[in-house]
Amino acid sequence: MNRLLPAGAFCALLLQACGEPLVAPELIVNTRVLGARVESATDPTRAWPAPAEGATVRWLLANPDGAPKVGWAFSLCTAKPVSRGLPLCEGSPFAHRMSEGTSTDAPQFEFAVPDLQSLGGATEVVVRAAFCTSGTPAFSKDGVDFASTRCPNATNEPLLATTEIPLWLTDATNHVPTFDAVSFGFDGAPWTGITDAEEQSVDCIAGERSIPTVPADGTTHDLALAIPTELSESLPSSSAPGLDRETLQLSHYVTGGDLERAFSSVSLDAPSAKVAVAWTAPIQVDAGGRLLRFYFILRDGRGGTAWAKRTLCVVP
């Protein structure tokens, strides 16, 4: 018998999994894309738009200071199926949009999914995105091309991103997960979010009450999330046992300090799942204190994405 996955490759994967990463992916030190959320026009809770239906892709970008100021360009094409690697486009893009200069507004791309005939049998569409902090990315008639897209300032490398969107073609569909029923805790106390506007008025030194405040002493704190079962949808029957519900992937990022890891896996066999992540406060901040942002992104592995943000103050 020849092997499907060689034992050696299996060991190599384990070695890869056990190694310390070169750069901590969970720490935001420059402008980054953290996620893309797809909403169908007629039902924003549905992650799979139907042919000829409108849809919106909202992008989550972050930098150490909050929402970055970026220019962007998007294009939409039908997906050429691939089993691994980057999603490819089949033919020319159906739609494209670009920003007018840069803005801190969350980038979003509204489009209409091509009708069944135009899709030509494709079951997914692909959105390609480019973001530049120096202006609107250069754009060609072929849409965002990963090899040639450039920022106005040549020294500013574009952030390139893509998301593949499955289409609603059969009875089965997929809903966007939500954080509405997820409870957050910080060192055992409830941890609520604040709006972007409220964030602007936070004064860490003045004794902020709405968000946790911790000293910059290198102490480790516990972050906790309780995720209810309803967030995980049933999956079509599988040949293998144990694959009848979605396993959620929770990503967590922070703009300062040391987060234990970037990802958590959430299997919702029990009524709710608890996710615990340790975070170590920085040992030094400016005299004015520092507002740190934590981003939590939930993915259902089938195109459904949601995110939430929590903040805290670190004071000297």
Partner: protein, 696 residues
């Protein structure tokens, strides 16, 4: 004075090894005090066609038995003899890894032991134990071979242009022969090393039967806790392996011998990750892998007349394999029935017919949910599992493949110095409804008593891997693919102890199984070609105390997938140098060293990366496949063994040091999450394997 047997003209130039023992000694009760070991006469040498093994002993009480190695019919057959099988430095005493000292054998990675012969991929060469293929050649991806090396009599390596008795491989063949249990008394061996512990027992049963049993278990569990990063994962099952072998030899009559062989192996590893990997969140939850197989074989060897012999064997085996890797799950159950038979008929002094069959009957069932399998060789896999599409191949109902093969090969000696071996092999593949006809020809011409010229040409065919044929993840309409192989060279025995040889080879592969663009239906097609060419230099010294080998291979192996540009074979190694020596210092001391130097394997550089919002990882943008090369690999291994002869016991301690000067031997890169930074990954560091052995 006693004369040994009759020498048949079939043997032309062959190694002769004669061991004699006293039946009286074998039948003695076990002494309470260790007596002096009897002096056992021994003869060894080279016999030629007209020679008789005229070995004589002064004491009539001795009987003797000659083990005669058949002369090569192939262009290239390289043999590792029993006395060297467990003594090659750097192999931890492993016989199958010992082939690495031979030319034409590429360096395998630290996680794979499948032999890479003359630029062929891991799946293009076949390995046999006692004439049957095995589901798993090495434990844990290459740590040690799954069959006890002390039960092997020899390992033959055919890097190319092998004869018609083997088939279904476009590369080469490694054939390990199992020895018979010793019949001169009770023997036992117990050995413990860092890697594993094993015990072996063998004994005669009357005059006409003998048995042997061996078992081995890994010791990794004893040390694992000390090294495992507990914060990263918890251990469900410590990486472990065990294997067992049982041999039986029965003389049914003076002309018929029956051999039984029972063997099996089990490998397992089980981990539970506390959290997903920071690099690849698909590596999460439970990671579980196990493979176990059991085999039983019956082999009948008969000599009907001095000119007609027969060997027939039947092997039944079952294999259970399962794998859980995050959301990827698969389970496979396999039942095999393998049978081979060969009849050797000498019709005249210069002509012998070798007629045989080679049957494989395979049955699979199970399920597979996981990434779409890549092509066996040459798929660029820089990204993580998260970026791979998960497919559900469904429940694999019982799938049966019947592959009968038959061959005819002549040993034709039109003149005394010329041996011509034409042959043809026909194979049928029921799972593909295909038939292949492979003509082969090899020729050896003795230019003088010490110089032989040789050349060969042949067609070789191979069936696709079983999963490449599965509906849902593969293409049931795939056809076997082929190679034309050409080689020519010379062998020169400078003295009886010192010999060397030089060979050139060329292989053309066509109809290779490659994946479709994007890995879409029909997933795999016969649309790949390949070219492999090179030269091999081999020198060997076999003295009383010193045994040494020098092997150098210069080669280039390249492939073309579909209409893409030609690329290097993923394990192409331009230079492969291996120098090995073992020296008997006397007083029970033996030292050995092996130095290897090979070109680094090709790899595919990453030029950029794109964030994939679906899975929250970056996907690499790759440069041309296998367009860069890792640094040169070099490594020195040393083995030291001291044996105390405390008759009837022997006690030995040994130390096998791999990579004694701790060469880094970088074998790829570890990337940051966004592929903007990278650092080289070092190969196996200095690794000592210390052990203790007791023998009776």
């Amino acid at each position: 004075m006693r004369r040994l047997g009759t020498w048949h003209g079939a043997l032309v130039v062959s190694a002769l090894h004669v061991t004699a023992f006293s039946p009286a000694f074998a039948e003695q009760p076990k002494p309470t005090e260790a007596p002096e070991a009897p002096e056992v006469p021994e003869a060894q040498g080279v016999a030629s066609e007209n020679d008789s093994p005229d070995v004589t002993f002064e004491d009539d009480s001795y009987t003797a038995e000659a083990q005669i190695t058949a002369p090569p019919r192939e262009v290239t057959r390289r043999t590792i003899e029993q006395q060297d099988l467990t003594q090659i430095p750097g192999t931890s005493g492993d016989a199958l890894r010992a082939i690495e000292v031979m030319p034409g054998v590429g360096r395998t990675s630290i996680t794979s032991g499948d032999p890479l012969l003359r630029g062929a991929a891991w799946n293009e060469s076949r390995s046999y134990i006692a004439g049957a293929t095995v589901p798993l050649l090495y434990h844990l991806g290459g740590v040690k071979s799954a069959f006890n090396s002390r039960l092997l009599s020899r390992v033959d390596l055919y890097p190319g242009n092998y004869g018609a008795s083997f088939g279904r491989a476009v590369g080469g063949v490694v054939s390990a022969s199992v020895r018979d249990p010793q019949r001169d008394g009770v023997h036992a061996v117990a050995e413990a090393s860092v890697l594993d512990s094993m015990a072996l027992f063998e004994a005669p049963v009357g005059q006409d039967a003998a048995i042997a049993f061996a078992a081995r278990r890994s010791n990794l569990g004893l040390f694992y806790d000390a090294f495992a990063p507990k914060s990263t994962f918890s251990v469900l099952a410590v990486p472990s392996y065990y294997d067992y072998q049982g041999l039986g030899w029965f003389r049914l009559s003076s002309r018929h011998q029956l051999r039984t062989l029972v063997y099996g192996s089990h490998d397992a590893i089980g981990l539970s990750f506390a959290n997903p990997s920071d690099f690849d969140p698909a590596l999460r939850d439970k990671v579980d892998y196990a493979i176990a197989y059991n085999r039983v074989q019956l082999a009948l060897e008969s000599e009907f007349t001095p000119h007609v012999t027969q060997r027939v064997q039947v092997t039944y085996g079952n294999t259970q394999w399962h794998q859980v890797l995050g959301g990827a799950r698969s389970k496979l159950s396999e039942h095999d029935l393998l049978s081979r038979g060969e009849w050797n008929i000498r019709t005249s002094e210069g002509l012998k017919w070798n007629i045989g069959y080679d049957l494989e009957l395979l049955s699979y069932s199970g399920y597979y949910v996981g990434s779409r399998p890549p092509q066996a060789e040459g798929e660029v896999m820089n990204g993580g599992m998260s970026t791979e599409t998960v497919v559900d191949a469904g429940n694999l109902k019982r799938i049966v493949a019947v592959r009968p093969g038959a061959y005819v090969e002549l040993d034709w000696r039109p003149i005394s110095r010329l041996l011509v071996v034409p042959g043809v092999r026909v194979d049928y593949y029921s799972d593909q409804g295909a038939c292949t006809v492979d003509p082969r020809l090899s020729t050896r011409y003795e230019l003088s008593d010490r110089v032989t010229l040789k050349w060969g040409i042949g067609v070789y065919s191979q069936n696709p891997l079983y999963y490449e044929l599965l509906r849902g993840i593969g293409n049931p309409k795939l056809a076997p693919y082929h190679a034309q192989q050409y080689s020519a060279g010379l062998e020169h025995g400078i003295t009886e102890r010192l010999s060397w040889g030089l060979e050139g080879f060329y292989k053309h592969l066509y109809g290779r199984v490659v994946s479709t663009p994007g890995g879409q239906a029909p997933y795999f097609v016969n649309d790949g070609t390949g070219q492999i060419y090179g030269a091999e230099l081999f020198a060997r010294y076999a003295g009383q105390r010193l045994r040494a080998w020098l092997a150098y291979t210069l080669s280039r192996s390249k492939r073309q997938d579909r209409n893409d540009a030609w690329r290097l074979f993923e394990s192409d190694q331009t230079h492969i140098l291996a120098a090995t020596a073992n020296y008997d210092l006397g007083r029970g001391w033996q030292v050995g060293g092996r130095f290897r130097l090979t070109s680094g394997n090709p790899y595919t550089p990453v030029t950029a990366a794109v964030y994939d919002a679906n899975v929250d990882v970056y996907q690499p943008v790759n440069a041309a496949p296998f367009s860069a090369r890792n640094p040169t690999f070099h490594q020195l291994d040393v083995r030291v063994e001291k044996t105390w002869n405390l008759a009837p016991f022997k006690v030995a301690v040994f130390a096998d040091f791999q990579n004694v000067y701790n060469a880094k031997n970088y074998q790829g890169f570890d990337y940051s999450y966004d592929y903007k930074k990278r650092q080289p990954i070092a190969g196996l560091s200095f690794l000592p394997n210390l052990g203790l052995r007791g023998e009776l």
